[in-house]
Every structure is written in C-alpha cells, then in structure tokens.
Amino acid sequence: MFRKMLIANRGEIAVRIERTCREMGIQTVALYEAADRRSLHVRLADECVPLNSPQGFLDGQAILEIAQAKGVDAIHPGYGYLAEEASFIRACNEADIVFIGPPAVVVERVRHKIDTLRRARAAGFPTVEYAPTIFDADDLAGDDGRALHEAVAHLGYPVVIKSCSGGRGRGERLVWSADRLLEAARRAQAEAQAVYGNRRVYLERAILPAHQVGVQIVADEYGRLIHLGEREGSVQYGSRKVIEEAPAPCLTQPQREHLWQTALDLARLFEYQNVGTVEFLVDGSGQFYFTEFKARIQVEHPLTEMVAQVDLVREQLRLAAGEPLTLEQAGVQLKGWGVLAHVNAEDPWQRFLPGPGRLQRVRLPGGPGVRVDSYVYSGCDVPAAYDPLVAKLVAWAADRPQTVERLRRALAETVLVGTPVNLSLLRRILGTPEVAAGTYTTEFLARPLPDEEQPESYWRDLAVTAAVLYVRRNQAFHPAVPERTLSGWHQDSRRLPQ
C-alpha cells in the first residue's frame, strides 16, 4: 500500500480522502490556495503546501512538482479538476506516482462523451439521443451559432447543452427554444471553462420529465467487476443535484435489477477499471437510457457507502495499488435507505447567489444514522473561488420514510451562521408530498414549493424576538442616534437617501 499521498483537491472531498488515508496509515499532503488556508482539509493533513498557480487545482504541472518535492507515491484527484484528465494520469505514471482512479487508457475510452454514446449504441445499449458535434469556443463566435442550430434540428427541442468534461451539473443548460440556444451555449461554455478548464460542450435531446440514476461500479484490473446498487439524483435546481438517494425510488425491483445488469454489461464493454458510475436517464415508464461514465469518485458516493457498508475510497486505493477486488457480488447486501442533502453556501431566495464569508457559528448534526462530510467548523471561511458546497448531510435508516424524517431532523439541528445557506430550502423540499412519496422527477423544482404552515405562536414568538433585538441594538450601540442612519448602506453613502 502507499506510503504518502498528495490530494489534488480541496474542501469536503479532500477531507474525505484524508480520513481513509489516516485509517490506512498513509501520510497525506494537502494543497491550498491562500483564501482556503483555514479549511479543514489543510488542518487534517500530515503536510500542507500552498498552491500558487493562476490555474489552481487545474495546474497538473504545478501539482506534480509539489508531489515530487514531497516524495509522494500516489495522487488522489477527488472529483472535478484533474479527476478525468488522461494526460495528467500519464504524467503521474511517468513520474512513477500512482494516480488513484482508472488507468489513462480507460479514461480515454470513456471520457469522450459522444464516442462513448456511439459505441454503446452500436453494441445495442439504449442511449439518449445526441448530436455528434462538439462545440468549442470558435464554433459559437463566428457564425452566430448556425452549427448549433443545425445540431438541434436533428434532435428537436428541448435539448440539454452539456460539458464534454461533464459532471455535477456544471456547464449544463436546458434549452426549450431556438432564441435562447446561443446564449445558453455561451453560458454553458463559460461555466465549463471555469469549472473544468475546458469549454467544449455537446447537445443531447432532453428527456422530460426524467430521473437521473447512476449505478456504482467497482472493478479490478483482473476482470472482476461488481455493482453496489444505484443512486438517484433527480431533485435538482439549476441542473445541480440537491437531494439524492439510494436506492432510486423511481424504480421497481425488476427495473432496478435490469439496470444493474445493464451497467455491468456496459462496464465490461468499455473494460472499465477502478471505482466509477454508469449514468442513465429513466423516463416516466421506467425505460432507461445510458448517458455517460463518471470515471471517478462522485460527490454522492456516501449514499452507496451507507447502504452497501463499503468504504469506496479504500476500494479506490486498493484497486489503484493493483490489488484484486475482494468484495463479491453475492456478499454485497444493500440494506435500508440513504438520502443525502447538499448544503450550499448560497441564497436560494436570491437566485442562488453564492455566499462566501466567514462561518461564525457551525454546529453539524449527529446521532443515529447521520453522516456529515464537510470542510467547515466554527470560525472557518467559505472562500469565494470554489463550489458553494459546504457540507453533505446523509441519513440512513431501515426504510425510506424513516430516512427522510431523519434527514429532516439532521437539517433542523444544523447551525451555519455567517453566510447564506440553503438549509431552509432543503427543509421545504424534504417536506413536500413528492419527496415523501418518492415520485419526484428532474422537473420537480421547476414548480414553486408550497409554503410551510407555522403555528400562530411561531410568528408571535419571532416578533417578540425581533423586538428584543431591536431594543437591545439601539440601546447598546447608539442610544442617541436615529436608527435610520446606522446601517452599513448609509454609513458609506456618498449622498443621502432621497
């Protein structure tokens, strides 16, 4: 096994990887940019090195230099950034450093999304409809998107614009009509560039309403291959998953088993290795369509870890070290139900405006059946430069209703003060009949959420609270100054309010 590992990522996934490394006795080297130095992943590592590159975690060269200077024998890319970059994997190999993930040849086989779809379809697998063209920046700049419009002509609206580097809904745009196509493609490209360092996008025919389901695959280099069940991530806003669960409530048991078998067959077709996910869209009738491989650990992997009771990062490390798969399909027992919430530093009521800042108070939930993966703690910063995900709350219980109630309970006891957070949105989503019944689709959050009923005493108590705060504030800070002149808004004003 490895002696020392560099983690080429930050935030909660870096913390997640450090935890398994520590349990396995592997030393860790964390990277951080200046704004991120108070994050937990920097504190839990054995060594921490500043990353001073304008490209940040996308700068494979800079990261490899640090890895060599620190004498590591492995690099874990986490998700995003360098997780599916075959050239980086090859550079690691040449430097005699093990890359934690599939070999470069496997990544190359599955990273090109259109080729992957073509090959799967040729082998008889059901896939989504796609346009066989990749749009790079120049394709849009020149001709006002004629190529784009031509591509859609074969598919018909609605279409989804997806990043070729894909993942996590970033760089994805749903388009319903031709007049929004060009702007949407530009936005998708800009976001893909920001997140993946690569602005290439392609088009798929949208399936609406749909369910987004992925099957977790684990494979060794000797041809042993198993699945660990599926996850559903259909509760989305702005193409980003916000509630996910395992198993997928949209499937019947026969559909589920058919899906598992299809995923295993696809993984065999592409000779997949290491830990990965085979992704599908499922329509209202339970028909499913292959969309892509995710050749890495995914954000929502704790769901699988809880229902299958497997440490996926440990499996990644073992497989990358060349060890054979020791889990057997017959020995894997998927038990109970898991539901995961993405806690984001953003304001859902202000068009999801991200909310960086300092978290003065943090209290994360605990107790039975609750797992938290996070990089935050009381007094830490949420830097502006990264994804707004601050914590993943995962609940597990013996059945789905208990699990949903448990996650609601965990949310209710979570305190994050200092930046806007989406806790109350998550609470409202989990309180809807659609989530209670497990009947939601990817369209679910396009409709307004019902207001929560609160007892009269709640409003009265908050009014008393506000009055106490109001009197206390005027008393303590400025008993003589009119309240109107005190806000930050007016203090730095260059002219008085009209």
């Binding site: 970033r170 800009a190 530093a345 991200p354 430069a385 108590d461 109001y470 009119p482 930050g488 309010p497």
Partner: protein, 165 residues
C-alpha cells in the same frame, strides 16, 4: 418601556418591553397586550452573540443581520420590519439606485451602458463567484447614470458597480 411594531413576513405585532437597566436575562413582554415570558441568555454580550432565545418555554436558535432586515430560525428565513412607534423619526427607508456587488467576485460582462433605459429586474452585469455566473439586475426602472466597472475587473463586496437614476 419600549413599544415596538414588528412585522414578520407580513404579520404585524405590537410588542411592549423594558430592557433598560436590566441586569438579568429574563423579562416579561407583551404582544398585542398578552404577556409572554422571555429568556434571552446572551443579552449581556454583544448583539451578534445572541443566537438563542426562549419565548414562553419555546426555544429558538436565531441568526439575523445587523440591520434587522431578516431573521433566520431553524424553520426558515423571514423578512423583518421593526420600528419604535413612539420615536419621532420613523420614516421607512428608501432604496436608492446605486447597485453594489452583493458578493466579492469578478465582473465577466457589462450588459448596459450610461444613458441606457432599464426596466426593473433587467440584467446589468454578470459577476462570477464560486464558479457561478450571477446576473446583477436593476432594483428599479430608470436610466443608467454611471458604470463604475468593466469586464475582467475584480470587485469587493459592496463595491459600487452602477447607478440608476
């Protein structure tokens, strides 16, 4: 004794209470004339430290902005208006036409220019932060009087971006 009119998400209450000179943390307030018991444990410290209050035995963990425009409990975020009904100066505040950066980030595009008429809600600029593009929109209708930033420029929170007259 202070008399405060408080509106929480559109529901208005008259609250009477006395805080001056109190050393303890328990007090009796009246809401629309009815007495309620209040335990405000952190009342002696600075205002921001006050994260917990008990009203008639019901505990609330709260967060709020220094201007008391909003209050957050475990059940949601609520809009607040509070004013001293006996104070002389009780005019509500007006928003002006100055558009400031709500978060630090980088301006990626400027969509309007000086002299242009804009409708309320119309996008003015795009600000990138946390890998997300965020449209900054006009808070009201008017004419763009000034644009203080250009694409590519990094901006701090509350930095003045544009002005609308």
């Amino acid at each position: 004794m202070s008399k405060i009119a408080v509106t929480v998400d559109g529901r208005t209450y008259q609250v009477e209470l006395e805080l001056f000179g109190r050393s303890g943390t328990e007090l009796i307030a009246r809401v629309n004339g009815e007495p309620v018991r209040v335990l405000a444990p952190e009342l002696g410290g600075n205002l921001e430290a006050m994260g917990w209050i008990v009203v008639d035995d019901r505990p609330y963990e709260i967060a709020f902005d220094p201007d008391l425009h909003w209050l957050r409990s475990a059940r949601g975020l609520h809009r607040l208006e509070a004013r001293d009904v006996e104070a002389l100066d009780a005019r509500p505040r007006n928003g002006d036409g100055r558009v400031k950066a709500p978060i630090p980030g980088q301006i990626t595009r400027v969509l309007v220019s000086v002299g242009q008429a804009v409708a309320a809600g119309e996008p003015l600029l795009v600000l990138e932060a946390m890998k997300m593009e965020n449209e900054i929109r006009a808070s009201r209708a008017g004419v763009v009087a000034a644009v203080h930033v250009s694409a590519g420029r990094g901006v701090a929170r509350n930095e003045l971006l544009t002005e609308i007259n």
